[in-house]
Subunit: 235 residues, 2 copies
């Protein structure tokens, strides 16, 4: 029963949750989450460029969203800009992070160290958002013991002992489709709370009752094809 | 002006569009497209397993969607199941493909041949959905001329001559964030109709007025973190 260890980890997790999280969780529509993350990425870029304030229409213009969309989204998480000045970029970053739940650190296991796993291990964008890659796992014994960046690849059979030393909340699943559902079930059993699934198959099941976000490149291409056809049709 | 070549390619493209496309384009809510692609993937797996018919509740159960969600989605694209039998898997695949716009072939250029580009070049899931990888492009002259699978890596400066020989409708952008906006603009100028953007930055601009779908791993992880926090909060 995967629920038991998962529950256990959730309890450990609870004290860290801020009030703004629970507040935001209740009211952010799930479609707005991607936009929140896009605002955050842009605000962080602005911060690095030394820009301290921005208003909703400037932010919207940079990202292709309308002014009112931006104000509605940011209003929903309780962010208030100052009239004639706009939002403080650093404060808005903080508000968004706390609303999404990335104002705390998340430990990540990367499972599957093929080409995609290797690419993901080298991806620089994780750490800046509070995600810490703490374990690299593979099913292939030939890969176990090899280094990927600072991490040594561990076998999936060692996963429980890895988790015992370093709690792992999220897993990135980059294994072949054939084995993905089984691996997802094992991860959930070991107390992983959510899976980012790159395997082009469905890994949800009654035995894997944790949130799964799918990143299927073919599905993304299909969304793009649809957007292109749709744009053509509307001309 | 990127609009001119893009328009030109759109005109060439028009005769291929089916009536069901324009019909579907008008009424599928954009949020449903990902679900359509997920139904399609599952139906194709069922077909390969020799399963000829399925009803909405079975399909929903396999994917974690409600019966009524499935019926609403499929009804919106004009798919009708037979009472007591369900949908024909092969016919439903066809209906979905025509609704999304993947009943025609799409030629793809992969731009950026680092770790991620290499991983994407080896990704098997594209071809089965009607996407044909026809060009591999890099900015780094040291990589130009090398082989990736059956493709020879070309320089971005050769892109126009590549397109002149083989029309390219979509590009997958896997270059570093710093150069991504410029590269996106060049691709749009060369007549590319849509971009799947893996660079962790915004590539939309008034000069790149074509559809862009972003795949930012950090954003997907943030969506996952939010789903986990949200699930905790709702318990």
């Amino acid at each position: 029963m995967p629920v038991v260890p998962a529950k256990e980890k959730m309890t450990k997790f609870k004290p860290e949750r801020t009030t703004s999280n629970s507040f935001a969780s209740a009211i952010i529509p799930s479609g707005a989450i991607s936009r929140m993350a896009i605002y955050l990425r842009e605000l962080q870029q602005l911060q690095r460029s030394g820009i301290d304030t921005i208003n909703s229409s400037q932010l919207g213009e940079r990202l292709g969203f309308t002014d009112s969309q931006v104000r509605r989204d940011l209003g929903a998480i309780g962010a208030v800009g100052r009239r004639g000045v706009g939002y403080s970029t650093s404060q808005l970053c903080q508000t968004i992070r706390s609303a999404i739940g990335t104002d705390r650190d998340w430990n990540i296991a990367l499972v599957g160290m093929g080409n995609l796993g290797q690419a993901l291990a080298g991806y620089r964008g994780f750490e800046t958002q509070g995600f810490r890659l703490v374990a690299a796992i593979d099913l292939d014994q030939a890969k176990v013991g090899k280094k990927v960046g600072k991490l040594t690849i561990k076998s999936i059979d060692q996963f429980d002992s890895v988790v015992a030393r370093t709690p792992i909340q999220l897993a990135i699943l980059a294994v072949p489709a054939e084995v993905a559902p089984d691996v997802a079930e094992r991860l959930a059993k070991s107390g992983v709370l959510g899976i980012l699934n790159f395997a082009p198959t469905n890994v949800r099941s009654p035995k894997t009752c944790i949130p799964v976000i799918d990143v299927d490149m073919a599905i993304e291409l299909q969304r793009l094809a649809f957007a292109v056809v749709n744009q053509e049709a509307s001309r």
